[in-house]
């Protein structure tokens, strides 16, 4: 990467971090936002390679949060789902 030419700013995956924070009740969303902030800081300082690294970290944490959150919901529903469906049946299928 040349020093004279300013490369394209890597994505900070902030939208992914927001979705993760809203849906998943997981610290991974917060970690992802922190890395998003670091992408902007390092890129503004001209440390492009570091910005790329933080960008991939932000992406990884965002995806980890979504996947862990999704798996967590499935395990949780498997554990408590019987009670959930039993309650549904008692209400005659009414939500």
């Amino acid at each position: 990467m040349s020093d004279q030419l300013e490369p394209q700013k890597p994505s900070n995956y902030l939208a992914l971090a927001i979705i993760c924070t809203v849906c998943c009740c997981l610290p991974a969303g917060i970690v992802s936002i922190v890395y998003a902030a670091r992408v902007n800081e390092t890129f503004a300082r001209g440390e492009y390679e570091l910005a790329e690294k933080y960008s991939s970290n932000a992406k990884t944490w965002g995806i980890v949060g979504l996947v862990v959150g999704g798996i967590g919901v499935i395990i949780y529903l498997a554990l408590f789902g019987f009670g959930f469906f039993a309650a549904l049946m008692e209400n005659g299928g009414q939500f």
Binding site: L14, A15, I18, C24, I30, A37, N40, Y76
Partner: protein, 135 residues
């Protein structure tokens, strides 16, 4: 910034997924108590940042904006931010986006981090006036 074709494919998957979920949240009220509480709240007794989002979405779909803010103060603004962001990435005329994404700002992540942390701490403080922030 115009999204590449590959990225737009993911956006379309996401949009279809959301469209499939919306009727569920319109007809089903999470307030009922049939749905098990969030595992995090059950284990720690704490409200996390996203707590109340499902109820807030249900309220929003029924046009109850005050109720939506009441269940999660940051939920309606978060939806606006995401609509603004993905609108910027998907909708463009002659290769130009119709508006700027609010998430592309230089200090957007830092501001967001501050707001999220303050909100999460405050909503866990019992008693007035913070109980307004609890889900």
């Amino acid at each position: 910034m115009v999204a590449s074709f590959n990225t737009r494919k993911y956006y379309i998957f996401g949009a279809v997924g959301i469209l499939l979920l919306l009727p569920l949240y319109y007809f089903w009220n999470p307030e009922g108590g049939a749905f098990p509480a969030c595992p995090f709240e059950r284990l720690t007794g704490l409200f996390c940042t996203g707590c109340g989002s499902q109820r807030a979405l249900h309220d929003l779909l029924h046009g109850d904006i005050a109720g939506s803010f009441g269940h999660n103060l940051l939920f309606p603004p978060a939806i606006l931010l995401l609509v603004g962001h993905f609108g910027n990435r998907i909708l463009y005329v002659k290769g130009k986006s119709l508006w700027k994404s609010p998430l592309d700002g230089r200090y957007a992540p830092a501001i967001l981090l501050g707001v999220v942390l303050v909100f999460t701490v405050l909503r866990n403080i019992p008693g007035q006036p913070f109980s307004f922030l609890a889900p």
